[in-house]
Amino acid sequence: MARQTYRPTMPKNWYLKNPFYTRYMIREATSVFVGLWMLNLTVGLWRLSQGEAAWQGWIDLQGEPWMILFSLITLGMAIYHTVTWFAIAPRAMPAVIAGKKVNPDLVGKAHWAGFVVASIVVLAILL
């Protein structure tokens, strides 16, 4: 006779049952906001291709209070994603590269250095 076991089901709101899961889910959810904002940016580029009036319309839209709020939320989400991702990404690195042991701390710092350099380049282009 087959053994009789009990198989518990996972609650639908499992990610609220543990703060660790909740933080993970927020990290996943950030992509929704970043994705929507990229969509907004793509629309902007498309409007730019349609001439000055269309572009100005898009620029004005960015100044709307709800749009500023949305951009601020997205910025917060992007920062959250960056911080949490940079904290765990070094662990995904191979242990040895080109015969040298990889130091995860250094990899984390390299991520941040790359972030700073990229930000400076972008700001330099903009300003």
């Binding site: 076991t5 518990p8 899961y21 995904a92 242990a95 040895v96």
Partner: protein, 257 residues
């Protein structure tokens, strides 16, 4: 002396007598040097002999006593009454995401089958089913086989696993997809893949580089958080993802096989 006790709530399940899990409460004297396992021994000896749980070494090496203690997967022999204090209530549940056999004992068969599938042993050229990419290293027949400290350091932490399955209890992806090979088995697969004496990497790909292999993992990372041996199975899985991706990339470039 009411504060000299702790209340232990144990999730009970017996197919014959208690077919729906429910909690049983037991009053256990508080001793600061008692582990949860000691408290369970007290319950079984003095209060209710029908309580079922697994244990063996009572020193965090055999991996038998994993359970969910106040919501967190832990080893019962490594968690102490003093961590909660006199007068506290401590709930004990079986590991999550597994079928329950009785009380705190879960069905391990599925895990053992997964463990076997990843070939957790050194595969040499003769035993490898698929042609290995690496050259055959010298075998013991040739004499002593030396491994440098650097070569050892690549996989050493992944050898520390005691198969306690706390990581499976911590993994929501395993809970959602029971076919997922899971943290410990994948970490052990990585341990052998990363060992320079092993030639089984091509064979293990059939298990690792699939939807239910490393690609079921979304790097939640809680497995590594609860691991009592600091194995960091999440890191092992990400490294295998990198290997799988490189392999795929090379095959697109015509460089791989």
């Amino acid at each position: 002396m009411s504060d000299a006790n702790v209340t232990i709530e144990i999730q009970r399940y017996h197919p014959e007598t208690c077919p729906e899990p429910k909690f049983g409460r037991f009053e256990v004297p508080y001793h600061k040097e008692w582990s949860i396992l000691d408290a369970l021994q007290y319950v079984k000896e003095d209060l209710d002999g029908s309580v079922v749980y697994r244990w063996s070494c009572r020193m965090a090496v055999c991996g038998s006593c994993g359970m969910v203690i106040n919501g967190t997967p832990k080893l019962a022999c490594e968690t102490f009454l003093r961590d909660f204090g006199p007068g506290s209530t401590i709930t004990l549940e079986p590991l999550k995401n597994f079928a329950i056999e009785r009380d705190l004992a879960v069905d391990l068969e599925d895990f053992v089958e997964k463990l076997e599938r990843v070939k957790p042993f050194i595969v040499d050229a003769g035993a490898a089913l698929k042609k290995p990419k690496k050259a055959q290293p010298p075998t013991t027949g040739v004499g002593e086989y030396r491994q440098t400290p650097l070569e050892l350091s690549v996989f050493k932490q992944f050898t520390m696993c005691i198969n306690c399955l706390l990581c499976y209890s911590a993994c929501p992806q395993f809970g959602l997809n029971p076919k997922f090979v899971g943290p410990a088995a994948l970490a052990l697969a990585h341990r052998y893949n990363a060992d320079n004496r092993d030639l089984g990497e091509e064979d293990r790909k059939a298990v690792l580089n699939t939807k239910d292999g490393v690609w079921s993992c979304t790097f939640v990372g809680y497995c590594s958080e609860v691991c009592p041996k600091h194995v960091d199975p999440a890191a092992a899985i990400q490294r295998e993802k990198v290997n799988g991706m490189m392999d795929w990339g090379l095959s697109k470039l015509g460089g791989g096989e």
